[in-house]
Symmetry: C2
Subunit: 340 residues, 2 copies
Amino acid sequence: MRPTAKDLAEAAGLSLATVDRVLNDRPNVSPKAVRKVNETIERIGFIRNPAAVSLARNKSYRFRFVLPTSGDLYLGELIHRVEEARISMKGDLVDLDVVQIAIDDPHKVAKYLADIDENEFDGIAMMAPESPQVRDAIGRLIERGVKFVQFLSGQEKLPTADFVGVDNYAAGATAAKIIGRFVGQRAGKVLIVAETMQSLDSIERRLGFDDVVNSQFSHLQCLPSIETHGDARRATQILQRVLENNQEVAAIYVLSSEARIPLEGAASFTDLQKITVVVHERTPFSERGLHDGNIDAVIAQDPGHAVRSAIRIMRARADLREPHAAQDKIRIEVLLKENL
Amino acid sequence: MRPTAKDLAEAAGLSLATVDRVLNDRPNVSPKAVRKVNETIERIGFIRNPAAVSLARNKSYRFRFVLPTSGDLYLGELIHRVEEARISMKGDLVDLDVVQIAIDDPHKVAKYLADIDENEFDGIAMMAPESPQVRDAIGRLIERGVKFVQFLSGQEKLPTADFVGVDNYAAGATAAKIIGRFVGQRAGKVLIVAETMQSLDSIERRLGFDDVVNSQFSHLQCLPSIETHGDARRATQILQRVLENNQEVAAIYVLSSEARIPLEGAASFTDLQKITVVVHERTPFSERGLHDGNIDAVIAQDPGHAVRSAIRIMRARADLREPHAAQDKIRIEVLLKENL
DNA sequence: CTTGCTTTGAGGTGCGCACCTCAGTTATGA
DNA sequence: TCATAACTGAGGTGCGCACCTCAAAGCAAG
C-alpha cells in the first residue's frame, strides 16, 4: 500500500497537523520539523494523492484564451481546439473560455488586460502583440496573481511569463531548407509573402529563412517581403506585378499563418505546381494544397497540442508547480502530402 | 456550483442509491429509472468529479511495457521515456514497469503473454512480433480482461486491441518523397537498408517507399533491400560490395529504427555528405548525423508521445472509457537540421 | 390471498487530504 | 523569573463519490 499522510506523520514521529503544515507551507513550523518531514518523505517515498488533494481543495481553475478577431482559417482551427479542450476538461475542474479582441491596437489590449478581474480568472493565454504597453500590462496582471501564457505569438519572451509556441527563427530556417533542397541546383528567385512584417513572428521567420538561404543556397535570391494586410485584391495586384517582373521565381514562401489569400492570388498568374511552395500552418486550405500539388510543404505547429500545452502550464502554475517542460514543447512539424 | 450526484438525485426525483446504481451499471434498476437519470444528466449537465471517483474507488492501475531485448539507441530512448513516465505518473495511481524479452521467438512471446497474471496487471503495451501464435495469445489475454496496446510495431492491427504508432506505409512514402525531392532531377540508385525485412513494419515502409518512388520519381532506381541483422561486420561487407558495384548511388534509406550500424559501415566507403541520406527515429546518432550533414532527414515518431499515448489508452480502457483519439495519434515527424 | 421476485430508498462508511480550532508545550528574551 | 511568542498535537469537518446493508415498497404469478 502506498503511504498516506498519516503514515508520513507516524514515520516522521510527528503529528498529522504538523505534517499538514509542512506540506502546505503553513506558518508556525520549526525548521527542524520541516527537515524531518522532508527527509521522511524521501525515505518512505510519500506522494500526495492528487485526487484527494483536488477533492479536498475543491477548487476549480478558470482560464481564458484571448485571440485576435481577425485571422482566417488557422484562427478557426485554434478556436475549435479550445472548444474541444473546454469540453474534455470540463470534468477536471477546468473552466475554459475564449474571447476575441482587436489585437492590433496595443492600447486596447493593455486596457483589456488591466480590466481583467484577478478573482475571475486563474490564468490567461493570449496571442499578445509586440508592444511595451502590452508588456507592462502583462507584468501587472502577473503581479495580481494571474498566470499568463504567451500563446503562439508576439512579444519578446517575458522572463516572468511562460511561452507556448515554436521558435520562429527555426521555423523560417526549416522552410528555407525545404525550399532550397526541393528547388535543387538551378538558380532562381524566392518570393516571400507575409500578412504583415510588423510582427515579431514574421521578422524572426524571415531572419531564419534568410540565414539558411544565404549560407546554404546562395544561388537563390530572396525578393523583398510582400505584405498582404489581409486584403485579397491588393495582394493579388502586387503579386501580379512582382511575378511579371520576375520570370524566374522558383519558390514561394508564405510566412504568415494565412496562406489562402496570397496563393489564390498567385495561382491566377502562374502555375503553382511548377513552383516550390512552402506555407505555414495546417488548415483546410493548406491540406488541399498539399493534395493538389499546389503546395509542396507545410510548416506547422499543432494547434491542439498548443492549446493543451497552455492549459497544462496554467494549471501547473496555478498549483505552484513547475510545468513539465519536455511534454509542453511545441514541435516544428513538416507536413508533406505523404505524412498528413 | 457544479451539480453533484446528490443534486442529480434530487433533480431526477430519485434517491442517491438509485442514481448510484445507474451511474455504475449496477443490477436491479428499472429501465424507467435509467432513462430518467440519463435525461436528468443531460438536462442539468452533470459530470462526475473524477477526483472523487478516483478517491472513492481508490484503485491504482498497473501497466507493463514489454520491449525487445535487442535493439540499439532507439530502444534506449524508449526505455528512458517509460522511466520518465513512471516517475511522473507515480502520483496518479499509475504503476508502470518495463520488461525486455526476446521478441524474435513468437513461441516464447506467446508463452510470456499466456503466463501473465490478469490480477497483476491492468494493461500491457507490447512491441509484438508478427505471428499467429502471438496474435492468439493477445486475444486470450484480452479475454482475461487485460487491456492490450500494440506498441509501435508488429502485427496486423487487431480489431480488439488498440494500436499506438505511425502508419508505416505513410512513413516510407514520406521518406521517399524527401529523397526524391532532395535528389532532384538527376537519375541514380537508391540503397535501402533494413535490419530485417521479416517484420511487418519494414515491409510496409518499403511498400510505401516504392510506391512513391515509382509514381513520382521514376528516374530513381531502388536496389533490393540489404539486411544487416544487427551485425556490423557483415553489414559493412555487404554494403562495400553493393557500393562498389553501384557507383551512381544517389541516396540511402535506412528503414529500420537503427541507423548507426549501416551508416557507420557505409561511411567508410563513401562520402555520405554527397548522398541524400534518410533514416528513421531520433537518436543521439541520428541527431549528430543531421548536425554533421551525414544525414539529410530523419523520419521520426516521438517516443515520449508514444509512451504517454499508450498509457492514456490503457487508462481509458481500464475505466471502460473510449480513448481520446485525436490526442493519441502519433505523427510522422520530419526532422531536419533546422527543426531539431 | 400468499409467495417470491425486483426495484427503491435511507443510511452508513471510507477513500486521502485540506483546513480549522483549541489546548497544551516549548523556546525566547527582557 | 515570568510574559510572550513560537510551535505542536489532538480532533473534527467536509470535499464527491463508490460501495455496502437492510428495510420497505412494488409487482407478478400461482
